[in-house]
C-alpha cells in the first residue's frame, strides 16, 4: 500500500518535471508568454532619478536640476548636435584673467579631445561591470531571457576583445552569476584603481514596442577653469589616470564629469551608429546624465550603457544569438577605443582603413 502511494507520488513529480521541461522549451521558441515579473523593478529604477531630484530640490540645488533634467536629454551621440547643445553652464564665472569662457567651452565640447590624451595619461585598467546578477535577474524578456545573463556574456566578450590589445588591464566586477550589490561594485572599482568604469545594462520599456540605445554618465556641475589650468601644467605626464587623481583632487570631479561624458558620447555613438546600420528600427536616446549609484561612487570616468532593449521581442530573439551579442561587444570596444585614441592621427587613419 505504502509503496503504491510512493510510486504514485513519484509519478506525479515526474509528470510535473516533464511538463516543466516542455513549457521551458515552449518559452524558448516564444509560444507562450509567461507573466513578466519585471514591472516593479523597472519602476524602481525609474523612480531613482525622481527621488534624487526631490532630494536635490530639498537641498536647494535648483540650478543643477535644470541642467540634468533639460539640457542633457537633448544631447545625442552626434558630434554636430553636441556642439550646438552645450550642456554645461560654467558654474564659476570666468575670472578676469586671460582665459575666457569660450576657451573652456571649446575644450569641453570638442569631440576631438579626450582629457586623458591632453594630460598624457595612460589608461591602464578598464573595469567592466555586467549589470545585475545572482538573485537579481534584472529585466526578464518574454522568452525568459534574463538581463543578468546577457550583460555577463557581453561583458566577457568585451573583455576578450580588449585583452587582445595587450595594453589594458581588464577587470570585471563579476565574472559569474553572483549577486553583487551596487555599493560593492563601486568599492571594487575604487579598490582596484580602475581608470575607466563601464556598466552594461539592458533597457526594458513595457509600454513601448521599440528598441532604444542610451548611455548614462554621472557628474556634478563643473569647474572648467581648473581643468584648463591642469591641462597646461600636466601635459605629457606619465601618470596613470588613477595616480593622477590624487594630485588634482580639486578638479577631480570636473575631470570625471567631462571624461565620463566624452566616454559616454563615444560609446553611444559607436553603439547606435553600428546597430542602426544593421537594422533601422532603433531609436537613439542619446547620452544622459543620471544619478545611478554605480556611477556616482566611482571616482574615474564612469558610464552606464543600456545597450539594447529586452522588452522588444525581436530584439530578445536576437540577443539570444551569439553574433548579436558579439557585435554589441564590438561596438562597445570601438566606442572605448575611440575615446582612448581621440586625436591620434594614426588611429584615425587605421579606423578609416577598416
Amino acid at each position: 500500500m505504502i509503496s503504491a502511494l510512493l510510486r504514485k507520488r513519484e509519478l506525479r513529480i515526474r509528470q510535473n518535471i516533464l511538463k516543466g521541461v516542455y513549457e521551458d522549451n515552449l518559452k524558448i521558441i516564444g509560444i507562450r508568454r509567461p507573466v513578466i515579473a519585471r514591472n516593479r523593478l523597472f519602476y524602481v529604477k525609474k523612480a531613482v532619478p525622481i527621488l534624487f531630484i526631490a532630494v536635490l530640490f530639498a537641498l536647494g540645488h535648483w540650478d543643477y536640476i535644470k541642467i540634468s533634467s533639460f539640457s542633457e536629454k537633448e544631447v545625442t551621440a552626434s558630434p554636430a548636435l553636441q556642439k550646438n547643445l552645450l550642456p554645461f553652464n560654467p558654474a564659476v564665472p570666468p575670472a578676469g584673467d586671460m582665459l575666457s569662457a569660450a576657451d573652456y567651452q571649446g575644450l569641453l565640447s570638442s569631440p576631438d579631445i579626450s582629457i586623458s590624451r591632453v594630460f598624457g595619461l595612460g589608461v591602464k585598467t578598464i573595469m567592466i561591470d555586467p549589470g545585475h546578477g545572482g538573485t537579481d535577474p534584472g529585466a526578464i524578456g518574454k522568452m525568459g531571457t534574463m538581463e543578468k545573463d546577457i550583460t555577463l556574456d557581453i561583458a566577457r566578450r568585451l573583455r576578450e576583445r580588449l585583452l587582445k590589445y595587450g595594453t589594458y588591464n581588464i577587470l570585471m566586477t563579476r565574472n559569474d552569476d553572483s549577486t553583487l550589490p551596487l555599493n560593492k561594485r563601486v568599492e571594487l572599482a575604487r579598490m582596484s584603481k580602475a581608470d575607466i568604469f563601464i556598466s552594461i545594462h539592458l533597457n526594458y520599456l513595457p509600454s513601448k514596442p521599440i528598441n532604444i540605445i542610451e548611455t548614462y554618465f554621472f557628474g556634478p556641475s563643473s569647474d572648467e577653469k581648473v581643468l584648463k589650468l591642469a591641462e597646461k601644467e600636466n601635459a605629457g605626464s606619465q601618470y596613470g589616470m588613477n595616480e593622477f587623481k590624487d594630485m588634482i583632487e580639486k578638479i577631480g570631479e570636473t575631470l570625471k564629469l567631462q571624461e565620463s561624458r566624452t566616454l559616454a558620447l563615444s560609446i553611444q555613438k559607436s553603439l547606435f551608429v553600428n546597430s542602426s546600420r544593421n537594422k533601422g528600427d532603433i531609436y537613439d536616446f542619446g547620452v544622459k546624465r543620471a544619478p545611478f549609484v554605480v556611477l556616482l561612487g566611482v571616482d574615474v570616468p564612469a558610464v552606464l550603457a543600456e545597450v539594447s532593449c529586452l522588452s522588444n521581442k525581436k530584439e530578445e530573439v536576437e540577443l539570444n544569438d551569439e553574433r548579436h551579442r558579439d557585435n554589441i561587444a564590438r561596438y562597445l570596444e570601438a566606442g572605448i577605443l575611440d575615446y582612448l585614441h581621440k586625436g591620434e592621427l594614426q588611429y584615425a587613419a587605421k579606423r578609416r582603413a577598416d
Binding site: N16, D24, I28, M143, D177, E322, R323
Partner: protein, 342 residues
C-alpha cells in the same frame, strides 16, 4: 511511466544528446551509444583538404590533424573564436555527426533531448535549437546536470555536481524542474586544472617541451586529490630526447586548485534549504562529468563537509554517458503531445 506502443517506437527514434565542452555523446532508443571529443576541424586550404581527405573532421581525428585544420571547440567557455559563424557551424556539425552515429532508419522521425552546460544554455538556447533543428523533427534543450539527475532518478532532495571542462554546474533537485536558484555554475573545472598544471610544470621544468594537449592527457591519466601511494612519471622531451619527469605533486596541486570553490558552493547551496531537507540533500550528493573521475574526489568532499555533519557523496558510474542517458530517458518519458508543438 507512460509506455509508448510498439507502433510509435518504430517510427520514432528517441535520442539523448549531451553537448559537452570537451566531449559530446549520444544515447538513442535503438541502443546506440557513441561519443566524440567536441572538436570540429575544417581543412585550412586546398592542400590540407588533400592531406586529410575530408571536408570536415571530428574529435580525436580532428585533434590529430590540428595543424592542417581550422579547429573549433564550439562550447568552450567564454572564449571568442575568430568568426562566430564557425562556432555555430561547429555545433551543427557535431549534432549532425552524432545523429549519424545513431544510425536512424530511413523515414524514422527523430525526437531529441539535448543537454548543454547550464551556463551555455542561458544565452544560447535559441542558437542551439537552431543548430539541432535541421537534424531532428522535434527537440527540447535542457541543462546538463538536470539531465544527469533525471537519468539517475534523482528527482527529489539531491544535489548533482557536474564537473566538466569549462564549467562546474551545480543543480539541486527538489521534485520540480530546477529553477534559476537551484542551479549555479562556476568556472573552476577541467580547463582550469589544465591551465594550473601547465603553469606548475613550466615552473618546475623550464627546459622541457610540452603543450596544452599533453598536459590535458597527463591530467586525464593521473588526476587525483589527496595523497596517493603511486609514483607518477611521464615522458617529456628535453632537447629532443625523451626524459622521465616526476609530476605527482603538480598534478595534485592542480586538481586540488578547483576544490575550495566547489566545496564552498556546495555548502552555500545546501544552506539555502530548509534544515530538514539539508540533511537529505547532503546524503544525496552526486558527482558527474569528467571531473568525477579524479581519484579521491569523493573522499575529499566528504572530508571537507565533515564539520557540517555526515554526508554521502557518490560518483556516477559512467560519466561520459550519464548526461546523454538521462536526456534519452527524458525523451522516452516525454508524453507524445508535448513533442508536437516543438
Amino acid at each position: 511511466m507512460p509506455q509508448k506502443d510498439a507502433q510509435t517506437e518504430k517510427n520514432i527514434l528517441f535520442a539523448g544528446i549531451d553537448l559537452g565542452t570537451s566531449r559530446s555523446s549520444i544515447s538513442a532508443s535503438n541502443s546506440t551509444r557513441e561519443w566524440v571529443e567536441s572538436y570540429v576541424g575544417w581543412p585550412k586550404d586546398f592542400i590540407s583538404q588533400q592531406v586529410v581527405g575530408k571536408p570536415v573532421l571530428f574529435g580525436a581525428e580532428a585533434l590529430k590533424h590540428r595543424l592542417s585544420l581550422d579547429l573549433s571547440r564550439p562550447l568552450q567557455h567564454g572564449v571568442i573564436k575568430e568568426g562566430i559563424e564557425k562556432n555555430e557551424d561547429a555545433v551543427k556539425e557535431i549534432i549532425k555527426y552524432l545523429i549519424e552515429l545513431a544510425k536512424p532508419e530511413d523515414g524514422q522521425k527523430i525526437h531529441a533531448v539535448v543537454g548543454v552546460p547550464a551556463d551555455t544554455l542561458k544565452v544560447n538556447k535559441l542558437a542551439i535549437r537552431k543548430a539541432v533543428a535541421e537534424f531532428a523533427h522535434s527537440l527540447m534543450v535542457v541543462s546538463e546536470p538536470f539531465a544527469v539527475a533525471y537519468g539517475l532518478n534523482l528527482l527529489n532532495n539531491a544535489l548533482v555536481i557536474d564537473i566538466g571542462a569549462g564549467t562546474t554546474d551545480f543543480c539541486i533537485m527538489h521534485g520540480t524542474i530546477p529553477t534559476e536558484e537551484d542551479q549555479k555554475t562556476i568556472t573552476n573545472a577541467g580547463d582550469y586544472i589544465d591551465d594550473q598544471l601547465f603553469s606548475y610544470l613550466t615552473e618546475k621544468y623550464p627546459n622541457s617541451k610540452f603543450n596544452k594537449n599533453m598536459v590535458r592527457q597527463f591530467k586525464e591519466s593521473y588526476s587525483h586529490v589527496r595523497d596517493i601511494p603511486d609514483e607518477i612519471q611521464v615522458e617529456i622531451p628535453v632537447g629532443g630526447k625523451p626524459v622521465m619527469h616526476d609530476i605527482k605533486n603538480e598534478i595534485r596541486r592542480a586538481c586540488e586548485s578547483i576544490m575550495p570553490a566547489i566545496v564552498e558552493t556546495i555548502t552555500e547551496m545546501i544552506a539555502r534549504f530548509d534544515p530538514e531537507f539539508q540533511v537529505r540533500i547532503k546524503n544525496n550528493i552526486v558527482l558527474a562529468g569528467g571531473g568525477s573521475l579524479i581519484r579521491g574526489i569523493r573522499e575529499y568532499i566528504q572530508d571537507a563537509l565533515k564539520e557540517y555533519g555526515p554526508c554521502n557523496v557518490i560518483s556516477v558510474e559512467d560519466p561520459l554517458f550519464a548526461g546523454s542517458d538521462g536526456a534519452l530517458k527524458l525523451a522516452k518519458d516525454m508524453p507524445e503531445k508535448y513533442w508536437e508543438p516543438l
